[in-house]
């Protein structure tokens, strides 16, 4: 399971970094989403990987999984969800106003500054 989780985090991060380096805004937004998935998975694993254990006090439980990373992940999900919405709107408005969905606001090869 360790190998699965680790390679999952690694693959998501690699995809996210690659997409963030693209020139158009939509791949960058997707890249940011992938990076936030990667970090959520990573945070989940920081409390060590435990299978089938409850996070809250239970007299019948043989052991517990660390509940704190779950709270951290929830916070991170909420923030990254809101941020993704903002950045999508921002990219759309930028495209409508600047007439290009390039990250720097002008098509490659276009002469001069805006």
């Amino acid at each position: 399971m360790e190998l699965l989780i680790a390679s999952g985090v690694g693959a998501l991060t690699a995809v996210g970094v690659y997409l963030c380096l693209r020139g158009r805004t939509f791949p960058v937004v997707l890249g940011l989403s992938f990076l936030s998935y990667a970090v959520n998975l990573f945070l989940f694993a920081t409390g060590r990987l435990v299978v089938g254990r409850p996070p809250i006090i239970d007299p019948a439980a043989a052991g517990y999984t660390d509940p704190l990373p779950q709270a951290l992940v929830l916070t991170a999900i909420v923030i990254s969800f809101g941020m993704t919405a903002l950045v999508v709107v921002l990219a759309l408005r930028g495209f409508l106003e600047a007439g290009s969905d390039q990250v720097d606001g002008r098509e490659p090869g276009a002469e001069g500054r805006r």
Binding site: L32, L43, T46, L68, L72, I79, M83, L90, E97
Partner: protein, 513 residues
């Protein structure tokens, strides 16, 4: 236990919510409440500053959950100082913006209060994950403020600004996760204790987390090569917003002080001094690039943006030096740099408003009203920014030069700081003479021109008050420096902080376990 410690977070949060819900269509009501809240915050921050000046850190456990299980806010000298500085800058900015600038878009004052909430929370919190949350609060508000009034240039730059900060936030989470995985805690005081007890097999992981965290704060502090977001953002943002953003780079410097100097620093600590070999060269490059940017700037606001980068270079040079004296010098330069940068941005806005179509660009233009007043203000702000006597920039730079003598390559560092100061003087002299002296022949107002409308006095007063603050800082340099030395000593002597949060003798207890 004083409940006033939470007031700098709660007051702006409530006021902002009230402004959005109840006063969204009434600009006068918004201004009244926003200014009143900022004045109240200034009073609270001043009270907390006096409270903290007895040298005892005070912990405020939220929900009365004992640390390290609950989140704590901690008021010590450093957080009180940063709170006071933020509130002073915020008052000048809100007075400046209330003269008409806030009409360009909706919800300026609500976003402004949320920004203050994030800043104050980041300075007060004693928990690393909570620091992340307050960073997000202040960033989300800053996105809104940055886009205030919109426009294509601002939208395109805004996308880059948001993307860079989202990447930094992702990195922040990775760093926090790594640190939590090793130590099992996120409370700063608890981390300070546990970081010293990490076994050698886990140390590499902890050091990775701490170094990642440094990268995050370096993005905020605009350290080369992570500075690229700053000139565009600060040059395009509306001037009052840019003036408030002058404190944002300092949040990065504060976080480095709090986390890397206090929590993970300390004598012989395995996690201390990780970034030091890298910070000095990077800070030198930051300083040089910022100064070259000053020479190349084509508008006063761009000039101010590059002045922020150059001042962060100087500040991080001092920050990289070990010892409490270096920290005190850093703090003095931080106070001075924030006020001077804020004043420059507000001046740029006053100029842009008066010079018509050429805005604040560095080109000759017809003479404009209140030229002498603004020229005087610009002169003082330029003296303060470039570090000429008699204002506080000079004292701050001398102190930093003195601190740098402990560095093996100090002659080179001195040469860089003094050389860039000379270039900065040249850049500001060029800008000032272009804007104020080379006025083209004035086309006298004819009857066809609209009558000169009365100009609001408030922004001029707010700006000039901010310009005058470096002079005050210089006049009272003695007492202020002594206070900052006590602040730095408290930061380096972290036992008091740890005991305020965790109760007496946590270090000894942890060692017995």
């Amino acid at each position: 236990m004083s409940h006033w410690i939470i007031a700098p977070v709660v007051v702006p949060a409530l006021v902002a919510a009230f402004l959005v819900l109840a006063a969204r269509f009434d600009l006068l009501l918004q201004r009244t409440f926003s200014i009143a809240a900022t004045v109240a915050l200034l009073a609270i921050a001043a009270g907390l500053f006096v409270l903290a000046s007895d040298g005892v850190p005070r912990a405020y456990p939220l929900g009365a959950w004992p640390a390290p299980f609950g989140i704590v806010l901690v008021l010590d000298r450093l957080s009180a100082l940063m709170l006071l500085l933020t509130q002073i800058l915020a008052l000048a900015v809100v007075l400046h913006a209330a003269a008409g600038w806030d009409r360009q878009g909706r919800h300026f004052h609500a976003l402004f209060q949320f920004q203050l909430m994030g800043l104050n929370g980041a300075f007060l919190t004693g928990d690393v994950f909570n620091l992340f949350v307050f960073f997000e609060v202040l960033l989300i508000a800053s996105y809104g403020l940055f886009l205030h009034g919109a426009g294509a240039a601002r939208l395109v730059t805004g996308f880059k600004y948001v993307t860079v900060n989202l990447l930094a936030s992702t990195l922040f989470l990775f760093a926090v996760g790594t640190i939590y995985a090793v130590t099992g805690t996120l409370n700063m005081a608890d981390l300070a204790v546990k970081a010293g007890q990490v076994g050698p097999e886990q140390l590499g992981l902890l050091r990775t987390g701490v170094a990642l965290l440094f990268v995050v704060f370096a993005v905020k502090a605009a350290l080369v090569p992570l500075h690229l977001w700053l000139p565009g953002t600060y040059g395009v943002a509306a001037a009052p917003v840019a003036a408030l953003f002058a404190i944002m780079t300092k949040v990065g410097a504060y976080a480095i002080l709090r986390v890397h100097v206090m929590v993970f620093g300390g004598e012989g600590s395995a996690t201390g001094g990780l970034a030091e070999p890298w910070v000095v060269p990077a800070a030198v490059v930051t300083l040089i690039l910022g100064t070259l940017g000053l020479l190349a700037a084509r508008s006063v606001q761009r000039l101010a943006a590059f002045a922020v980068i150059a001042s962060m270079g100087t500040l991080l040079l001092a920050l990289a030096m070990p010892g409490a004296d270096a920290t005190a010098a850093t703090l003095f330069y931080l106070l001075h740099g924030t006020l001077a940068a804020g004043a420059l941005f507000l001046l740029a806005d006053l100029l842009a408003e008066r010079r018509g179509a050429v805005r604040d660009e560095l080109v000759p233009a017809p003479a404009f009203p209140q030229l002498d007043l603004l020229a005087g203000g610009f002169f003082l702000a330029a003296i303060a920014t470039t570090g000429l006597p008699p204002l506080s920039g000079f004292l701050a730079k001398v102190w930093i030069l003195d601190v740098l003598r402990a560095h093996p390559a100090w002659p080179w560092l001195w040469a860089v700081i003094l050389g860039t100061s000379l270039l900065a003087v040249l850049a500001f002299a060029r800008a000032g003479s272009l804007v104020f002296w080379k006025s083209t022949a004035t086309a006298l107002p004819t009857a066809a021109d609209p009558p000169p409308r009365t100009r609001p006095v408030l922004p001029v007063v707010a700006t000039l008050a901010l310009v005058a603050l470096p002079a005050l800082l210089a006049a009272f340099a003695g007492p202020i420096a002594r206070d900052l030395e006590a602040t730095a000593a408290q930061l380096h002597e972290r036992t008091a902080y740890v005991e305020a949060v965790l109760g007496p003798r946590p270090v000894a207890r942890a060692a017995e376990d």
